[in-house]
Each structure stands twice: as C-alpha cells, then as structure tokens.
Subunit: 265 residues, 2 copies
C-alpha cells in the first residue's frame, strides 16, 4: 500500500501532467473510472501501472477484473496518494499510467477511410478532447492532430475524450501540410470548416470520402490552410449568435457527414 | 474612480455570484467585453451599472459608446476592484450589473413558435449556457428552463451563452410539467432527446413545430418526463463513444431541426 504522497514514484506520476515529462518518459496518465475502464477494455497492452484506492476498487470490480485479466500491475494507494498523482481536484480513486496510443499517419489512413478529422492549431484541451469524442461518436476513421496543436496526452484532453482516445486511430506530430497531403493521396476531399466560408454546410456534398479540417477555437483556420482545402464550409447561423464553439461546429459537421454517408446502411 | 476592493459597493457586486444574493437584489452580473457588448446592444435598458477599468475602456470604445448612447451609469474602477467584483480569474476589465431578462411563459410562446428548447434538471452551468447559445445559433424561438435546473444568471451560465442570453426569450422558474403543457397548448410537438429512445434522430419528422426536451447531463430525463413527451429521440452513435455530452446532443438535434425547417427559405 502506497501511503506517502511525497514518494518519488508519486511525484513521477504527477509530473506526467507536464508535456516535457510525458515526452521524456513516454508515458501519460488516465484518471477516473471512465477513462481507466476504456483503456483497459480497448488498449490494455498500453497500461503500465494502475493505482487504485482500495475503497474505490471494491466498488469498481469490473475495472479490477479487466486489469487482472490483462496482467496489469495494480498498486493500492491511500486517497492522499491518488490525489497527489492527479491533475484534477477529483481523481476518483483510479489513475492509470499509459503508453502512447497514437499511430503512424500511413497506418491511420490505410483501409480506404471515408471520414477523417484534421485538427490544426487547436489549443484548448476541452475542445480538442470533445472533437475526438465527436469523431468517435460518428464512427470516423481517424483523427489527425497537427504538430501545432495541444498535446493529446494533456490530462484535460484525455478527460474530455471520455475514453474515445482509445477507440479510434489518432495521429500526432505531423505538420498540417503533411496531413492534408496524406488525406488527398488516399482520395479524401478536404473540407475546411470555417466561419469565413461562403458555402453552407447544408449545400455541401458529404457523400464522397472527406476530411473535415478544423482550426483554432478563437481565430479559425490560417488563410494558407483554408486555401489549401478543396472547399471552405460554414455552419449556418440562423439567429443572433456570433458563432459556435469549435466542439459544437465539429459535432454538427461530423453528424451532417455521418447521417448522409450512413443513409441506407 | 473606485479603488478600494473592500468597499461595500464592490462586495455587493461580488455577492451576485451567489444565487441567494441575486434573488434578493434582483440583479446579476455580465463580465467581459463580449457579454457586456451584447447586453448593451440587445437589452441596454436592463443594465443598471457598468464598471470599467479605464485602460480597457480606452480599447473598447464601441462598448463605452453604446453605454453612453443608452445613458448607462459608467463607473471607472481600478483593475483590483474589477477583479474583486468578478467570478472569474479573468474579468477582462468590464463588469455590468444587470436586471433579469427572463420573460413570462405566455410571452415566450406567443407568435406561433416553431422551434423551442426545454431544459429540465440541467445542473452544469457550462452545458446550460452552451445549449442557450446553440438555440440562438439555430434561431430557436425560446428556451424554457425548468425550476429544477441551474440558475440562468449563474455567472458561468451567463459566460457560456456568449451573449445569447440577451438574444432570445428565456423563461425560468416553472415546473417541467407546466412547460410541457404550455408547449402542447401552442401546438408544439414535444421531442424528448434521450439516449434511451428507440427512435433515431434521422428518422424523426422535424418539419412540424416542436420543442426539444433535454434533461440532466449525467442521468438524462426522468421517466415521467420522457413518458409525457410525444416522442423519445436518440442521437445515433456510430462508433464506440458511450454518449454525447448534453451540449453536443442539443446542438445536433437543433441543427437537424433548423436545417429541415429552413430548407427552401
């Protein structure tokens, strides 16, 4: 039982809240029952250590059963240790230290993808995570996150994906130019989602395979990226709202695609 | 120039962060340039006092011009005073003390509404505010917030609406039963949005006037409310995501409605 919140091991888990520590260690953290259950259910081979408050573990026997089934090392910890490891005020008794799950660009786009999301210059962790969740919800084939975006292993991104990080291929570390080029190479049309577009979403042909390209939450897409896309599409605003936030716009675009592409399935 | 963060006036503005103080005073607070600009542009008669850090005011001449045009009392304050008044760590130099803008249920539903949102048991301020923003974006006729929901004048709700609170009629303080009854009386079909529904959103007829009924972010709609609605509609999940969050689900449903209802306009 780990009981010392100042122990070296506890500090090293906590340090994974920082990008530099994550990159040095090649590890990141999943916190709370939902994230921990999803990583154990979908990518158990990436879980290095699972830290559990026994009182929580007693109520989450499904999660501990998964961990044992996959021979994950489980460490019992006091609530203080779990709290000291975590990024949130509410670590909820479970912390998993995980290996990265991002895949090569070529691997992500193998198998004739039909619906892909490209994120570039997205800085807000909650928005980035929610877009990954939306991509998962519509059954997208991959999410490609450019090198100029928030780290997908930031604890707030991981939390906002609510497990979707482990459900579909995610690519990171490539430039947006490389990502757009790769999309075109596999026959995906590139649709920039941008408030400046003069083509409305309901007028956009989303029957053919395509990639939605989404930019920064405050200032949208860079002009060069917008110009490089096949179409620039705007979600219509019918009322007085100035805009939608990135997660809302992405969700609307992705559902518009999925509902057309899946019609008749 | 107000410079004492501990002055009685400053404390009384800060107190408006609490629901009990808001209800006693009949006032609430809008913080930051975007919210303050929207209330001055759309409902200037409801602004009681505007507190401004002069350094910010010098850059936001459009906002001060609106305030002067509508004879709003403007008080210059030190940055410390503005910070002491606000709910956020980032008050951004502008705080408006406002009168409520909610309207009577009968007034909100006058004029043959075609698209309405009913929120019941919604507790998370960010979700509630984002749904009001989405309702505004699609040009909905009203948002009806049941008495068992978060206060729409909670500073986090106000902030999440990004000004939409002043763009369309919002009702509060009525029971969900009263809200549903009133919707039916004016010819609105009631569509419960709930993950338990066996009718999928793409199969739902949204051409006729209707109200989307949305429940709690964690546990959805109460069975009695669901049963009282004409249809129970589920947003399809095509991938492995367990669910959408409330704001995402509401945005998808509202855009599905708006894009069908507005086709051919």
């Amino acid at each position: 039982m780990l009981t010392n919140p100042r122990a070296e091991r506890v500090r090293s888990v906590r340090a994974l809240g920082r990008r530099s520590s994550r990159e040095r260690a090649g590890r990141f953290v999943a916190e709370g029952p939902q994230a921990v259950r999803e990583v154990l259910a979908f990518r158990p081979e990436t879980v290095v250590d699972l830290y559990v408050d026994p009182q929580v573990g007693d109520r989450r026997t499904d999660i501990l059963a998964l961990a044992h089934q996959h021979d994950v090392r489980v460490h019992e910890c006091s609530p203080e240790v779990i709290a000291a490891m975590g990024d949130t005020g509410q670590p909820q008794g479970l912390v998993a230290v995980c290996r990265p799950v991002d895949v090569d660009l070529a691997a992500a786009l193998a198998g004739a993808p039909r619906l892909v999301v490209v994120l570039t210059n997205v800085r807000d962790p909650g928005n980035a995570g929610t877009v990954i969740r939306a991509a998962d919800a519509v059954g997208a084939d991959a999410v490609l996150v450019s090198d100029a975006s928030v780290d997908i292993y930031n604890p707030k991104v991981v939390r906002s994906t609510v497990g979707s990080l482990w459900h579909l291929p995610v690519v990171r570390g490539e430039s947006v130019e490389t990502l757009l080029h790769a999309c075109r190479q596999v026959g995906l049309r590139t649709l920039a989602a941008d408030g400046s577009g003069d083509q409305l979403l309901p007028d956009t042909d989303v029957r053919r395979p395509h990639a939605w390209v989404m930019g920064n939450e405050a200032w949208g897409l860079e002009p060069a990226v917008r110009d490089a896309c096949d179409e620039v599409v705007r979600v219509p605003i019918y009322g007085h709202a100035e805009s939608l936030n990135l997660a809302m716009a992405a969700t609307v675009c992705l559902y518009a695609s999925a509902q057309v592409m899946r019609r008749g399935e």
